[in-house]
Symmetry: C2
Subunit: 359 residues, 2 copies
């Protein structure tokens, strides 16, 4: 569900240290699970396998960047707080994949996918086996969601600060779950029920940008009015990121992204750009669009016709404009903040990667 | 999934105050959700409806009892910590119900059940609609699981204590999720994969007894060796409670329990008593048992034959013996602890209700 970006966010790369924190957490859970039953240990091994299979630790790394940028001096103390967000992220992916009926993640089986194989000799009926595999995935997501609060609590910071960042985590869960519900429901409530910007704000910006940035910032001595600016920065950057992602999903370079750029059109993905199309297009353009958009078996030429309609209607341009708007809003928020000199370039690179990338 | 008991746990009844804390939490979430979308507010209204429909707040009340029994003086300060466990409980029920394909809880629609109705005009295909309804239920459970950590953090106790009880919460989630996975898997891994006592320990004792008692105790000044005794008390009481529940599920008085006492036999529920049967019965008894046990459409006479086999084999007596064993282990653990005089009777009543009730 979540788009990924690969920024070289930081000169000082804490990815290994973050992975160490995550691995250590998982190793401890596996030992505890083994005491209960090897069959329980199994689910932790599957979680470990999935987490090792992918994920650029974008959110944890963004937390570290924010922490450093706003004056934080003791990165090791906050690594658990940063890493906890990867657990939340994977929890949400696992549960979203159940809802989206996806069984592959990071190019490997997700939890439902692997349990479907694991149960293959135990449950012969396909539908029944899939049901139990999804059940295991529900439980696996619960474990990581709960784990994210626990890992956050292992940060070497005063207990009051732990509570404060847990509240941020809770707010992000509240928002991303709401965003996921609203996004799922657009499949049958229709596009008018909720705007794509709202979904981008809550499903993407909340826990992919606002939470990581705020967690990092909250662990420094930043005053609360500055924290609001950090949230504002994250919100606008996150929306810009999502809109850029929607553009890449249709107009991106497949060779560069490694992802299909016909899939979004064939599945009829409802994005801000599509909303703009329906606001701007002529009746003829709309008629032709509806003929192809969302058609699972349309030809590549027909996909291309949809692309041309998005350009001709002005929907692409309007979306580019919105990206620029949100980018400038993000920059405005950031300008009110004082940034550590050695982090200025990294923040700039974050903004560029989030809003202007082409792949 | 979880059995319920109706002890008059406490002379001083904090149920209204607990409900107030829960209602206040839900009301705040509803307001925040409304800002995002009425469609998001809806899921919080469904959660409110479900939580109002039932639940005796057993776990929160047990927390309060433990707190008072071990010298806690300021019940209002810990009400959020107590109430948080009800959120966890309902979160687990919602997710378990998806796995068990149950759509009724507390005699009303659960979240999947109510969303299946809510989506009735939006999604015409039955299987598709049920899938989306289960998706909403996954998300609803996530909200309450996350909410339980947040509500706990609202306790008016030092931040260090909040972190300590959150770790207890996390341990309980770890155990109950593991218990649920193992219990679910017995349907196809068979009874030998994990013992019914292990499932009772992790699925029932962990978050229905150990967590509530430990949360209450941890918020007093009880030294850590005493906390181990509290955990030991909760573990043994919880297992005794589950074994008693299994007995009632087969031999209980339907009029008194208000629940079917043929259901467990017709669905072939694997319990400690059934394990004992297979350990103790003669080949002939086993052959007859297998003929009826788990038969969805067996007659009441055949159900009665199964009951008689459980008695004749000695399985019922062995289970009664196990209940007594765990009860005495619980009492032994409790005896090492110093109890506030005005709580002695209530703890005694808790033990009696948990282990010796007939309905």
């Amino acid at each position: 569900m979540q788009p990924t970006i690969d920024p070289t966010l930081q000169k000082t790369d804490y990815t290994d240290a973050l992975n160490q924190v995550i691995d250590d957490f998982l190793a401890r859970q596996k030992v505890k699970a083994q005491v209960m039953s090897p069959d329980y240990q199994e689910i932790w091994e599957e979680l470990e396998r999935l987490i090792h299979a992918g994920g650029k630790r974008l959110r944890p790394r963004m937390s570290i960047l924010a922490y450093r940028a706003f004056g934080g001096q003791d990165v090791p103390s906050m690594l658990p707080a940063a890493a906890a967000q990867e657990l939340l992220h994977v929890a949400m992916l696992i549960h979203d994949d159940i809802i989206d009926r996806d069984y592959i993640r990071y190019g490997v089986d997700n939890i439902a996918g692997s349990y479907n194989k694991l149960y293959s000799e135990l449950v012969t009926d396909d539908a029944e086996r899939l049901h139990y595999a999804q059940g295991a995935a529900i439980l696996a997501g619960d474990l990581l969601l709960s784990g994210s609060y626990l890992l956050m609590a292992e940060s070497m910071v005063p207990a009051e600060k732990i509570i404060a960042i847990q509240k941020l985590l809770g707010q992000a869960v509240f928002e991303v779950v709401g965003g996921e519900l609203l996004d799922t429901e657009t499949a049958f409530r229709g596009m008018n029920a909720v705007s794509a910007e709202t979904v981008a704000r809550y499903k993407t910006a909340s826990y992919t940008f606002i939470l990581p940035l705020l967690v990092g910032a909250r662990l420094t001595d930043l005053p609360s009015e500055d924290l609001s600016s950090v949230a504002e920065f994250g919100k606008n950057l996150g929306i810009a990121f999502q809109l850029r992602d929607d553009i890449i999903g249709v107009f991106g370079d497949e060779a560069a992204t490694g992802k299909s750029t016909t899939g979004d059109i064939r599945e009829g993905k409802r994005t801000y750009m599509v909303e703009q199309f329906f606001a701007l297009a002529t009746p003829d353009q709309k008629a032709m669009f509806k003929q192809y958009f969302g058609g699972a078996s349309i030809t590549n030429e027909q996909v291309d016709t949809v692309r041309k309609l998005l350009v001709a209607s002005g929907a692409l341009a309007a979306t580019e404009e919105a990206v620029s708007f949100y980018e400038s809003m993000a920059r405005n928020a950031l300008e009110t903040l004082s940034i550590e000199p050695d982090c200025v370039d990294e923040l700039e690179s974050l903004i560029t990667v989030a809003t202007r990338r082409t792949a």
